[in-house]
Symmetry: C2
């Protein structure tokens, strides 16, 4: 097994600020921001230290008999389990397929692990499983093994789904969060924040309505087109929990570079912007489940955008900024008014149980 | 990908008896017996049909670039999370390592997915993670990727852990639940039922006490010794949920053979037998987490037993019966009194949340 730069990422994620030790688990520990990073750095990484260990985030890459395999796992606890544009089943398939795609891998097989609550509707389970099957067929990645556990009434929340996946990293492709270099271009494959806002809108008790659908989707066709157009792509990352801002902060920290973003270039749907204003959220921190960020050599940027825009889901792909030799780890947003705002990783928990 | 006989196993498990459709999930659907098999056969298998699909039980085997990879997943919801002889963390590592071993594979890497309940003790999490790390180191199988989600207070049960794993099937080894042949010997690697009874004894409200420890352990060293001694081994199976009886019924169904067992030969500790009498359980249906069943050619039986008994955890390995050309799927127990008793798969739920 070879490290693939993952240890350095782990080291890079060590939080530079003192954070109090917590004696109990809080929702923010699952938020994908600072608290999650602290839990990973202080508890999981020291315990599980190994050459192939990734930052317990997207996926690990290691060598098996001369082939580079990618391996990823994700548990899904989204509430509600049915939301506009998808459900926990389709989301679970897209999530792990996309995580493998972010490793530069062609996914080969998925597993499905269910934790069901006693009393959960069998019809709902059937709908969820059908959505998983459809998402698996569409992505071309079979679900080959599984497991079902049932917990007592009141000890779960209907259904939790874990998907894990194996993929084979494409020949000649070497992507990683630590490979961004000054001068590289930063792209996003489509508008951000749709998933988070669609799920929030579906949550009972909220007082706003929207026609917005989750962006939950398989990004494989777009990633294939991107890697064909730019085999020297440095970094791929899906901005799920913690959103675009947190994902870019982690890339900046891991690569030891600065990032300069152009706020006006970041695609955000009007409905997402309106909902965020209503709820007091920043769309740059709202989760997507069918978008990705890419860092590519500047010279490849135009051909990558052309390749993405030629595909149905890629028409809104945009160059949103560049990697700089500024302060390592610092992500700066140039606002429409010409001012600059520093983006930090998500602090606390903006949208619990979004995936 | 090649089927590896898994489809036929799936077909073999189709329940010959009419079972009522259930409209809600019941604890028995997670029990590992008939209800679980019915859920798998009627809901999961039709949806996820693919050449590499296993019976959503132990693991799938498929070809990647000329290598046979094994892939397995398991979610752990055991209550209580700490029990004599282990905890949910060590159990989760042993469980998936053992599932890969049951595929004839050398495990290469594990993933760890946590679903934590808000308010769970960070100290308990630290103990669980330390146990996972120790079990991973002892087995020589690194945890390379992970994921953490947090659910609201009252929507979980402290901690659920999913482990998935990848392994490489040993050269020349071809094991499967459908490969048992009349005349083969049936072995068990040690006494059965320790895990189930140890967990039950740790459950609050129960009125019996025992010094018994769970058998939760990594079976890799024993399996390596067995496969070295008998490369023609037909079937490996760990008798977890549903116990020894259910595991043997499934082998009998998949292989289309009969099984004849000698009750007096099946090792059961005195404490387990006593607790089972007290609780009204049959030890042959109580879960083990560090034992396995093996079907080997009769001619290899003695050298396999010698190889197992030479190892610390294998001293109680026994030949417990043989594969027959009797009614396909029928497992018959010859009792100490000379009578015969048919063993069926676990019906309902004997010991909920044992793993």
């Amino acid at each position: 097994m070879k490290p693939d730069g993952l240890e350095s990422m782990a080291a890079g994620l060590a939080c530079p600020l003192p954070i109090e030790e917590d004696s109990i688990v809080q929702l923010a520990h699952g938020g994908g921001g600072r608290k999650t990073a602290h839990l990973v750095d202080s508890l999981f990484l020291p315990a599980f230290a190994s050459p192939a260990l990734d930052q317990l985030g997207d996926g690990a890459v290691f060598d098996v008999g001369g082939q580079r395999l990618a391996f990823s796992t994700d548990s899904f606890v989204v509430q509600p389990v049915f939301f506009p544009g998808g459900n926990i089943g389709s989301l679970a398939v897209h999530g792990t397929v996309n995580d493998l795609a972010m490793c530069g891998a062609e996914p080969l097989a998925l597993s499905a692990g269910f934790v069901l609550e006693e009393g959960f509707s069998m019809d709902d389970l059937r709908r969820i499983v059908a959505a998983m099957a459809a998402a698996s067929a569409e992505a071309g990645v079979p679900i080959v093994t599984g497991d079902t556990k049932v917990v007592n009434r009141g000890r779960g929340d209907g259904i939790y789904v874990n998907t894990s996946g194996i993929g084979r990293v494409r020949d000649g492709i070497q992507v990683g969060p630590d490979r961004a270099r000054p001068g590289d271009a930063v792209l996003v494959s489509g508008p951000v924040g749709d998933h988070g806002i669609a799920v929030m809108a579906a949550r009972s008790g909220l007082e706003f309505h929207t026609t917005l659908l989750s962006d939950s989707a398989c990004v494989l066709p777009l990633v294939r087109a991107l890697l064909d157009a730019a085999p020297a792509t440095r970094t791929l990352r899906d901005p799920t929990r913690g959103g675009l801002a947190t994902a870019l902060c982690e890339i900046a920290i891991s690569s030891g570079v600065g990032v300069s973003l152009d706020e006006d270039a970041i695609p955000v749907r009007r409905e997402v912007r309106a909902a965020c204003e209503l709820l007091g959220f920043d769309p740059l921190y709202v989760a997507c489940e069918g978008r990705f960020l890419a860092v590519v050599p500047a010279a490849d940027c135009e051909q990558v955008l052309a390749a993405l825009r030629a595909l149905p889901d890629g028409d809104a792909a945009r160059r949103i900024g560049e990697i700089t030799d500024g302060t390592p780890g610092r992500v700066v947003l140039r606002t429409g008014l010409g001012s600059h705002r520093r983006l930090e990783r998500l602090s606390g928990e903006q949208l619990p149980r979004i995936c």
